[in-house]
Amino acid sequence: MRTTRLTLAAAALAASTALASAQDGGQLNIYNWGNYTSPEMIEKFEQETGIDVTVTDYDSNDTALTRIRAGGHGFDIVVPSNNYVPIWVEAGLLQELDPAEIPNMENIAERWRDVPWDPNRTHTVPWQWGTTGVIVNTSVYDGDINTSAIFLDPPDELKGKINVIPEMTDVMNLAVNYVGGEACTNDRDILRQARDKLVEAKQHWIALDYGTVDAYAAGDIAAGVYWNGASMRARLANEDLAYGYPKEGYPVWMDSAGILTDAQNTENAKKFLNFVLEPENAAMISDFARYANGVEGSDAFMPEDMKTAPEIVVPAEHEEAAYFSVTCPAEVQQLYTQIWTELLR
C-alpha cells in the first residue's frame, strides 16, 4: 500500500514537473564551435519558444567527436564540419531527420540540398559555409593573389611574412592541388612533389598559427593561408587586405547542425533546427560569425557589407576551382601526417 502511494506521489510529481517544463518550454543544449553562435539569434529563439538554451563551445572537430563518444554529455545539437559528418553518421551519433517535422528544410538552398557528405540531408542541416584560401596585404604585394603560390612559391616581397594555419588536411590539400593532384590523393609522385614544395616553402613562413586577424590588420603578417570569414574581418580592420581563391584548387567546407542520438530534448532540437533555417534567423548567424549560410532567401536579411563582400560571395570566375573538402581515407591521412611531421620536424 505504502509503495503504491509513493509511486503515485512520484508519478504526480513527475507529471507536474513535466507540465512545468512544458509551460516554460524546457531546455536545449547546443554544442557548437566557439564564437560561432549568434547570441541575438539565441535570445530571439528563447523569446519565441520559451526554451532555455545553453551553448557550450568546442575548438575542433576531434574534440567534439571525442567528447560525444565518451557519453554522458547532455547535449542535444552538434555542428560538425562536412568532412566529419560521415564519421558522426557512421558511428550512429546523429538522429535521422524527418522533413515533415522540420518544414523549413525546404528553405535549404539548392546547392546545399543533396550534398556528398549527407545525401538528401538525412541527418544535418546547413549552419554556415566558407572557403580556405589565401590572404594578402596588397600594399606589400600587388601581383596576382588568386594562387597558392602566395605561400608555396612566395614572391620576394612576402618572404618571411607569411603565416599558414596549422590545419594539416587543408594545407596538404592546397599543396597537392598546387602540384596538380586531387585532394586526398594517394599518388606517391604527387605527394613527393607536394612534400618537396612544402619543405622548400617553409623557410619563407614566419609561423603556423591560428588567431591572427589582429596580426594581419596590424601588418605583423603580410600574407598567409586563411579562411574567408576571418579574412573579411581582417579586411574590415585594414582595407589593404584581400582574399584570394587559389586557381589550382581550394576547399569549400560547411558546418552542419544535427541532433544527437542520445539527445534529451529532441523535440526542442527539432524546433531549433527549424528556427535556424528561417532566412531571417540564418542571416543573424552570418552577421555574427561573418560566414555565408546555406538558406535560400537569407540574402535579403544579410548585413549590407556582407552582400557584396568578395570573401563571402565567391566571384563567378573563381567558382570552378572550388571543391568540397572530404575526409581522407585512413591510409592517406597517415601519409599526410608523415609528411606533415617531416615538414615541422
Partner: protein
C-alpha cells in the same frame, strides 16, 4: 655533515621502532591518496599502454587487434615512396631532442634567475617573507594561455617593447621577437620560474647563516662561501626545483606553439597531432609512453648523479 642530511637519519634512528599496529594505521592514512593515484594515474596509463599495441581506427579511436605498428612508427619510418625502405624516424628524433633541449634550457634559466630571487626572499625579515612568496605565486592566478597571450602582446612587432624602443629612437624598424626561440625561452622561463623559486626558498629558509659566518671567519672569499657552503646546502632545493621544472617543460606545448609560432613541433604537439588530425591513436600512445620513459630515465640519472658526490664528501 650537513643539516639537511641530519634530519632524516636522526628521525629514523632516535625513535623506538614503530609497532605493527602503527604501521598498519599509517597504511590506512595513505589509502585515500593511493586510491586516487591508482584510479587517476595508473588506470589511464594502463589504457595508454594497451592502446599503443592496437590498430588505429579509421576515424580516430582504436581497433581491437594486436599490432606493434604504433611502436614501430615511433622509431622507424617506412619511406612514403618505397614501402620496403625502412629508415630510423629521424623526424621524431629531432622533435624529441628539441623538447629535451628546451626543457634543459628552461631548467637552467629558471635556476639562474631563481637562485637570487629565492635568496632575496629568504634573507628578508621573517614577517615580510610571506608577502614576497605571495607575490611569486601571483602568476598562478591566471590561466596559462592568457599569460602566454599577454607575453605575445608585449613582444610582438606592434607590441609594447617595440613601440617603446621605436618611440625612444633606439631602433627604427621593429625587432622580430615573437615567433623566435627567444620568445619561447622567455615564455617558458616566466611560466616555470615560480616552480624553481619556491623549493629553493624552502631549502634556503632552513639555512643556518652561522655556517656562512664561520666561513668568512676562516677567511673564505664570498665566492668560496657560495660554492662550498651555500650551494651544497641548498642542493635539495635545486634538485626539487629542477624536477618540478624539467618534467612539465619537456611536455609543454602551449607556450612553444603560441610564442614560437608553431613552425616546429614539440613533443606535445607531435602527440596531439596523432590523437587529432593524424587519427593514429596507437602511435600517439606509444609516443606518450616514450616521453614517460625519457622522463623516468632522466630522473633516475639526475638523482643518482646528484646524490653520489654528497655521500662521498661526507663519507
Amino acid at each position: 655533515m650537513s643539516a639537511v642530511e641530519l634530519a632524516p637519519h636522526g628521525a629514523d634512528t632516535t625513535k623506538p621502532k614503530a609497532r605493527r599496529g602503527d604501521i598498519a594505521w599509517r597504511w590506512w592514512l595513505v589509502m585515500p591518496a593511493l586510491i586516487v593515484l591508482l584510479l587517476a594515474a595508473s588506470g589511464p596509463l594502463l589504457i595508454v599502454l594497451v592502446y599503443s599495441f592496437l590498430e588505429p581506427g579509421n576515424f580516430g579511436g582504436v581497433v581491437w587487434n594486436f599490432s606493434t605498428d604504433g611502436w614501430f612508427q615511433v622509431f622507424f619510418t617506412r619511406d612514403i615512396f618505397d614501402e620496403t625502405l625502412v629508415t630510423p624516424a629521424t623526424a621524431h628524433l629531432d622533435i624529441f631532442w628539441r623538447s629535451i633541449k628546451l626543457a634543459l634550457y628552461t631548467t637552467l634559466i629558471t635556476a639562474i634567475l631563481g637562485f637570487p630571487t629565492a635568496w632575496f626572499i629568504a634573507t628578508r625579515a621573517p614577517d615580510v617573507r610571506p608577502i614576497w612568496l605571495f607575490l611569486v605565486t601571483i602568476p598562478f592566478w591566471t590561466n596559462l594561455v592568457i599569460r602566454t597571450f599577454a607575453i605575445m602582446e608585449v613582444i610582438r612587432n606592434e607590441g609594447l617593447v617595440n613601440n617603446v624602443l621605436r618611440g625612444v629612437g633606439i631602433v627604427s624598424a621593429p625587432i622580430q621577437m615573437l615567433f623566435t626561440d627567444f620568445a619561447i625561452l622567455l615564455g617558458m622561463a616566466y611560466v616555470f620560474l615560480p616552480l624553481m623559486v619556491l623549493p629553493l626558498y624552502a631549502s634556503m629558509e632552513k639555512l643556518d647563516f652561522k655556517l656562512l659566518e664561520a666561513g668568512y671567519d676562516l677567511y673564505a672569499s664570498r665566492l668560496r662561501v657560495l660554492w662550498h657552503i651555500v650551494l651544497p646546502l641548498v642542493k635539495p632545493g635545486f634538485i626539487a626545483g629542477s624536477i618540478l621544472v624539467f618534467i612539465p617543460a619537456i611536455g609543454a606545448y602551449v607556450t612553444p606553439r603560441i610564442l614560437g609560432g608553431g613552425r616546429n613541433l614539440m613533443l606535445g604537439n607531435l602527440i596531439e597531432l596523432q590523437f587529432g588530425q593524424g587519427r593514429n591513436w596507437p602511435l600517439g600512445s606509444a609516443l606518450a609512453l616514450t616521453l614517460l620513459v625519457i622522463v623516468v630515465i632522466a630522473l633516475l640519472f639526475y638523482i643518482r648523479s646528484t646524490s653520489q658526490p654528497e655521500g662521498q664528501r661526507h663519507g
